[in-house]
């Protein structure tokens, strides 16, 4: 436990000092939101109502992207001598990964707060129910944990930091094939099938329903996807890490 906390402290310090990462994690979602609301918003619908529609999508996109940067932090450790030091110490083997995942949650908490704050300034008028907010943030947390563990696994097997960053690239684009920016029924049939059945759509739909005071009909589905992914990704990443010594 102490080991995981110490590692979390380390990872948080390291990500706080990596200024590029902090700027990217906060600026990117804020700029994307401004882009969608002010540039595309008018064409897609009314700017005022589109803010309410798009903010949950941006939140899911930015947390997904933020969580995926865990792969780069892990890959960076893996190629440096420091991982050998940790592994030659009597420390539970996945404390390194737990540390990076915890830092990822912390980074995303900051980024999410920034996005919500800017969204409010842009005219986002969400539900005021505390319960809805707690549920929405809880689901986002689960989603961030799942993707962070998945990213940690990618970080372990990636040969370079650059290849580890590919996951972030995917997480930046997959949300376009979902209901994040436009309702899926506006898409051609093939894309619609993909978009309706990929795991990000129920997560976005649920966060959106909770924050706009609609009934969260896809809540259980979102929970199942995120929870399932978390269990699988955690198992995969720790299994990969425990097998490093066979190389």
């Amino acid at each position: 436990m102490t080991a995981s906390l110490t590692m979390a402290g380390r990872s948080i310090r390291l990500s706080r000092r990596n200024l590029d990462l902090v700027i990217m994690a906060i600026m990117l979602p804020v700029l994307m939101m401004a882009l969608f609301v002010y540039v595309f918003g008018g064409a897609i619908g009314h700017v005022e109502s589109y803010v309410d529609y798009v903010v949950p999508g941006i939140l899911v996109l930015c947390t997904g992207y933020g969580a995926s940067s865990t792969s780069m932090a892990v890959a960076d450790d893996m190629k440096k001598g420091v991982i050998d030091r940790f592994r030659s110490m009597p420390v539970s083997s996945f404390a390194v990964l737990t540390g990076h995942v915890t830092a990822s949650v912390a980074r995303n908490a900051v980024a999410t707060s920034a996005v919500v704050l800017v969204a409010l300034l842009m005219g986002f008028r969400p539900s005021v129910s505390i319960v809805s907010w707690v549920l929405a943030l809880g689901l986002l947390l689960l989603y961030v944990l799942a993707l962070s563990w998945l990213a940690a696994g990618f970080g372990v097997i990636a040969r370079t930091v650059e290849s580890a960053s590919l996951l972030g690239f995917f997480m930046l684009f997959i949300p376009y094939l979902s209901s994040a920016f436009v309702p899926v029924d506006t898409m051609p049939a093939v894309l619609r099938v993909v978009s309706e059945h990929q795991p990000i759509t129920p997560v976005i739909e649920t966060v959106r329903a909770l924050l706009t005071g609609q009934p969260a009909t896809s809540g259980w589905l979102a929970l199942a996807w995120s929870g399932g992914l978390l269990v699988a990704a955690f198992g995969w990443a720790t299994w990969l890490f425990s097998r490093i010594n066979r190389r």
Binding site: G9, G81, V82, S88, M89, I244
Partner: protein
Amino acid sequence: MIVETEGLTKRYGSNTVLSGLDLKVAEGSVLALLGPNGAGKTTTIRILSTLTRPDGGSARVCGFDVVREAAAVRGVISLTGQYAAVDEEQTGRENLVMIARLRRFARGSARARAVELLERFDLVDAADRRVRTYSGGMRRRLDLAMSLVARPRLLFLDEPTTGLDPVSRTTMWDAIGDLVRDGVTIFLTTQYLEEADRLADRIVVLHNGDVVADGTADALKNSVGGTRLDLSFGSAEDASRAQAVVGGAVDELMLSVPSDGSATHLHRVLDDLLAARVSVLRVSTHRPTLDDVFTSLTAVAA
């Protein structure tokens, strides 16, 4: 024996890195594993420090099997790898406190231990600067300090001074010497013969994954022949006349005579040549170096 390996093998694909390594290291000694790149030095250290699994054979460290009892092995060793294993974006102090916390020091004693080590390794002034700003020598000293947080019984040093300038190298050697006096067993790899000569009680030369020589620096030097006198002459004729008087082997203008290195022997050779009226231009004494050992061993084995 603090380290004991039997028939240790490791392959990467079709490349055999270790082919049945047998090695024993006594507690409190300093062993240097010497060999060219690719000889299997780093692989040996990685297996002994539980980072890599061997394909065959067995290895025990402080009586614990490195595969089955890896956790126990980790409790008694420390590793200073080939590349300084420090966090660039943390300060020296933060790096040390982090390791102490991971080694289960309480918060207060972790900080105290960090201060102790910063003082011992002359890093007090740089303690609160990020490691990114450190020189190569400072980085290595911090790296070594991080390995000593928990007072290991056995310390692995993988090429501890590679890439350091001569002054930093001497500082590292002094620091390693202090550890030996504290009773820490040291298992180091190096490409520098001078380093092995200076630090190690025992030198094991590795070539193509196998031990080709094992002994003290002196024993290894003696194995490639003793001291000799090299006498230079003004002409090949003088050289061959000298050979008729004192023996030895001629190579153009140079005569090499086996010697015990004593002044008496040198005197006798020069007196005999003076009596025979052969004039000697220069005399030098040649003692075999570990370089000679290394060259002869790896040349034969190849």
